[in-house]
């Protein structure tokens, strides 16, 4: 164990954390704004990567390929939304069904379980080779950070519009929303599409970054996304109240997750166990509110603050 290798791994961890931050924003939109745990994302992550890599391999421009990845993600969200709202399947199950279907679709997109892309032959936007020794504007950390600023600005604008407000209301209180003339079913579908669009984009970036798309690249993505949401909210929740800052805290959560991840690897922990640790950490944090109210409940004071 030497410190130098840890420090060396640090920029890579930040870059990965940033990319996964985009994915985590997608998870946050469904989980916190819409109040749906969307399992589709495990499949969408790979779909985004597969579509982007295959499009580039067949000669398309990186921007066109990434746009296609976003669209593919949104279609996946649309399918889950259809299962949930039109067919009335519970949201979790609807997501699992889409995710399973995507496994086959992803294999068909790639033709096999793994497709590599050569960073020297193709004009990639991000890569693990663009971390050190490249111009600042080409540096992956810089590129993804700029992308995140733009995405958060877009979200901030969108969730302030009439439509965006009605999506927030749908997640907060669907009965009230319908009473106020809001088509909650359509809004859920829209939210799922936006969320999966983010995840598709993240998948396309991860694919480029690691230089390949792989059928397993999305496995457990929902847990990593939730971990980022939870870490971000736990650390920055009290100081970041504004919508844009809240979204930013999710990205910070993802970065912290990957830094801790690198640190744990550096400690020499068996990497086979890492997914289990992630699952346990997320389970504990998701359980804290319930445990608190059940075992550490304080008597409610009259005129006290209700949970917002």
């Amino acid at each position: 164990m030497n410190i130098a290798s840890l420090i060396n791994a640090f920029p890579g961890a930040v870059a990965q954390g940033l990319i996964w931050g985009i994915m985590a924003i997608g998870v946050w939109i469904t989980f916190r704004v819409l109040d749906i745990a969307d399992m589709t994302v495990d499949g969408t992550m790979c779909t985004g990567g597969a579509v982007c890599i295959m499009m580039m391999l067949s000669g398309h421009n990186v921007w066109v390929s990434m746009l296609a990845a976003i669209c593919a993600g949104m279609i996946a969200g649309l399918v889950t939304g259809f299962f949930h709202t039109v067919l009335g399947i519970p949201a979790i199950l609807a997501g699992i069904l889409t995710q399973l279907g995507l496994w086959s679709i992803n294999l068909k997109i790639m033709g096999k379980a793994n497709q590599a892309i050569n960073v020297d032959k193709y004009d990639l936007l991000v890569s693990l080779r663009f971390i050190k020794g490249v111009a600042v504007y080409k540096n992956t950390i810089f590129v993804v950070a700029v992308a995140i600023v733009i995405l958060i600005a877009l979200l901030y604008w969108f969730f302030g519009t009439e439509l965006g407000c009605s999506i927030r209301a749908t997640g907060c209180n669907p009965n009230m929303s319908r009473a106020q003339g809001i088509n909650t079913d359509r809004n859920k579908v829209l939210g799922l599409m936006i969320s999966n669009g983010f995840v598709g984009l993240a998948g396309s970036l991860i694919g480029q970054y690691q230089g390949f798309a792989d059928i397993n690249m999305g496995r457990g993505a929902i847990v990593i996304g939730l971990a980022a949401v939870i870490i971000g909210e736990a650390i920055f929740g009290r100081i970041f109240q504004n919508f844009a800052l809240k979204t930013l805290s999710i990205v910070f959560g993802a970065i912290i997750y990957y830094i801790v991840f690198q640190f744990v690897i550096w400690l020499g922990v068996d990497t086979d166990l890492l997914k289990m640790f992630s699952a346990i950490v997320v389970a504990i944090f998701l359980g804290i509110p319930t445990l608190k109210s059940r075992y550490f409940a304080k008597p409610v004071k009259r005129g006290g603050r209700a949970d917002a």
Partner: protein, 264 residues
Amino acid sequence: MLEIKNVYKTFNAGTINEKVALRGISLTLEDGDFVTVIGGNGAGKSTMLNAVAGVWPIDEGQIIIDGVDVTKLPEYKRAGYLGRVFQDPMNGTAAAMEIQENLALAQRRGKARGLRIGITAREREEYRERLAELGLGLETRMTSKVGLLSGGQRQALTLLMATLKKPKLLLLDEHTAALDPKTASKVLEMTDYIVNRDKLTTLMITHNMRDAIVHGNRLIMMMEGKIILDIKGEEKKNLSVEDLLQKFEQVSGEEFASDKAILG
């Protein structure tokens, strides 16, 4: 203004939990009618209101609001005609959103929601004035999350949201039942004021006979999914609780069982 024609609704049909909630109910409201609805638990009062609001499809019959047959319209489309306040103060508002954002949602009821800004500066001024009319000091807390408000404040806000854009029909489903007596009478006072000022056609369910007598120009009593009493005009004005109990015994052939219905 509102026509309910021979409406039937059965829940969990064909199962052990089958419950016939509405048995061919018919009711016509004139423009500006303020109708109070009383009846015991399970009489079908809320079911009738939910049938009008379109919470679920009805089994049979027709519902017409202001000449438009809305029987087949989904809940969110009917909302354009309606203003609704629910029994549970938590139900009528979005807790995680600001007071002004909730009002802006209500302002756009029945309109297409696009990519215009969700709340304009001019609206804010209007909301400030309307909130000030409530006399609860909410006009100084427009950016507070609704979740921070008390039950009474939330109910008052929901009432304002329901009437912000004049609805064809105001549906009040025991909207003061969950409040303490003092707050409840304040919210009822507000209701009376707004209904009279805007001449709103209103259906108000209440558990309290006195409230049902004091408010509105017409009173209906329900039992087992049917309307068993319909009192209006002069008769309604001179009605007392004793009269009402006597009438109930005549119609139903039994004594009014619930003290709660009298005392609230």
